[in-house]
Symmetry: C2
Subunit: 391 residues, 2 copies
């Protein structure tokens, strides 16, 4: 196991109606002037935004708001939020929404107290501090409610890039599974796929003998396999929603990724797709991840066989472990299809003519140096081949 540090000081409040206590938690953690950041649509229509405001009012907390976050959140709104926070002397950013809203909130929270351009963080600068961030999560997917990470798309070139740092761990996060019960099946399935992808990026390691984190990852994957179809069949199933919500947080707070190399090539390859086509990140991952696996599995057949046996319930073919490895990937793909995810470029609305440009951008764009991936290093040529296998 590699040496590591792990620090996850977010205060989690989990359960039905806990969002009505948002004001109490903002106050407990020192906020006095609050930016409420959100997307729009259901957060407004469902009355959630009003409930959150009422909760802040109850505690006598001043607040302003900025809506309009889109999936694959953009830099333009981040700049707007930073300007607003500075003007209004905001000291607490409260995100009400999913991963996009939380990621945009993180960018605003860091950018507000940073002298330079916030985009510096998305080109590799470590986020040491930010305004305190609270989250009220409305979709189990990105894990941003417990992670030190954020992904933003720069409208100047449509680069989609991630930033990380201790300043990005939310101060508190409210997880109410009931808020996710109104999600359409497609969005729910995208979230399930994203959670599984966070686990699998960590599973594709070159670090030997990491049984404890292997087992934790496998346990969370098995949870998703059990709960995913239940919630697609019955969106109102609170218990299934609750299990997925906690699994989504655990999948990405890195308690199951410590001390081991990780991959993240699938995320990088997908980011080009959602940057260009504005498709849902989870849907993009459903197409990309099995394709990457098929491209890289020969690097460590036994790791893929382990995944196939322990997670996908395959019988081990002791005479030909490669068959088992491939059967596991096949079952993963079949699972994704069963919950309504796309399998190829056409279903995603992607176009093969963009492959050369996307592959180039994935390995060379905005600060990269010709390769991506921690499991094996993938070149531009490799990525072209992977994209082509999805057509």
């Amino acid at each position: 196991m590699d040496n590591f540090t792990f620090y996850a000081p977010t205060y989690f409040v989990f359960g039905k109606d806990q969002e009505d206590e948002a004001g109490k938690y903002v106050k407990r953690f020192g906020g006095t002037r609050v930016l409420i950041h959100y997307g729009g649509g259901s957060v407004v229509r469902s009355g959630l935004l009003d409930r959150v405001k009422a909760s802040l009012d109850k505690e006598g907390l001043w607040h302003t708001e900025l809506g309009g976050v889109k999936p694959n959140p953009r830099s333009g709104l981040v700049y707007e939020g930073i300007e607003l926070c500075r003007k209004e002397k905001v000291d607490f950013v409260l995100a009400v929404g999913g991963g996009s809203t939380i990621d945009s909130s993180k960018a605003i929270a860091a950018g507000t107290i940073y002298d330079g351009d916030f985009w510096d963080f998305y080109q590799g600068k470590f986020v040491e501090k930010a305004l305190p961030i609270g989250t009220i999560l409305t979709i189990a997917a990105a894990g941003s409610e417990g992670s030190p990470d954020s992904v933003i798309t720069n409208e100047n070139g449509m680069f989609k890039r991630g930033a990380t740092g201790e300043g990005f761990r939310p101060t508190f996060s409210i997880l109410d599974p009931a808020l996710t019960q109104t999600l359409p099946p497609y969005q729910t399935a995208c979230g399930i796929t994203d959670i599984m992808a966070h686990l699998l990026e960590r599973y594709l390691t070159n670090t030997k003998e990491v049984e404890v984190t292997d087992r934790l990852i496998e346990g969370l994957l098995l949870t998703m396999i059990h709960e995913g179809p239940r919630v697609i069949a019955d969106p109102d199933n609170y218990e299934a929603r609750a299990n997925i919500m906690w699994a989504g947080m655990m999948a990405h707070n890195n308690s199951c990724g410590v001390g081991r190399s990780q991959d993240w090539s699938s995320h990088n390859i997908e980011h080009e797709l959602s940057a260009v086509y504005d498709c849902a990140h989870g849907a993009g991952l459903a197409v990309v991840f099995p394709a990457v696996m098929e491209y890289v599995y020969t690097h460590d057949v036994m790791r893929f066989a382990q995944l196939a046996v322990r997670v996908w319930g395959c019988s081990m073919d002791f005479a030909d472990p490669e068959k088992t490895a491939l059967e596991g990937i096949r079952r993963f793909r079949a699972f994704l299809v069963s919950i309504g995810m796309p399998q190829n470029f056409a279903e995603l609305g992607a176009d093969a003519k963009d492959i050369p440009a996307m592959a180039k951008c994935a390995v060379w764009g905005d600060g990269r140096s010709g390769h991506i991936g921690g499991f094996i290093q993938l070149s531009e040529e490799d990525i072209v081949k992977i994209y082509r296998s999805m057509v």
Copy 2:
């Protein structure tokens, strides 16, 4: 899933030789006057204590020390530590040792800034604050390095009782698996048993549909089953030690116990044994836990069958699930024997004549009200029967 809050803000530093950075972390987290608290023996002999002192000296930190913590740590030394901390205006308690040393440090850290008797916390008062606590862990077992819990034995009556509260979460914990390589096999096995017991106390739940935490617990148990025999056979195995060490923290920081009822009757029943005979807590648990399971499994046969199939690799007997449940308990017992743990009163050095007094104390002693246990409520009569089954 039940509503819950989860807050685990300990900064973990994991890996070889990280204890030489102790001074740096004390300083980062605001300590200036440090009590180094430890047991004795190996911490001194191995030179670890001197290395820790050198690390504090390097950062210019004033320190004093208090050794002499024994397994099943006693109230007398806690009172002594509180007096020393007050006299010397200590503002940081640094525990160097295992669970007993950490638990004693927690009691001192809370007691120093509390107006009343520190024992109040061990009779149910929630620990809201304490002096900041750092730990340098030397045995993977109690999980106290990441937990909000502490167990102390009151010499006035030999009551062994637990306390809990957010003030008890260590500020930082240094986990160096290499420090555990010199542990004798018996102590290592006691630690393995304690870790498994922390997981199983959480597994024995009445909360329905808690797949995510079931799977996390099962994953950590599978880790112990894989790594336990490896480390008993080869005490120098760093990788096995590392996996066990992280599993031990995860087993008890409650990320896998949230949102579900838990049991803890085995711990309570064992505490009487180690209070009376001063046996190792893990050894006591090895005798108690399978006996409790055999006594309570009919309350939820399918839960025990699930444990048997998923963790112990039993084949499900669909015609007679009870057989599967019992086979799981049998394999658990066989595993404990295989790593050198005792199976009965005689091997533990316990005496059947003490059973009535221990059973009485378990359910009535020092603040209890006639029952223990979250899975099923156990009365004095039940506990007599359980103890008798161990003779």
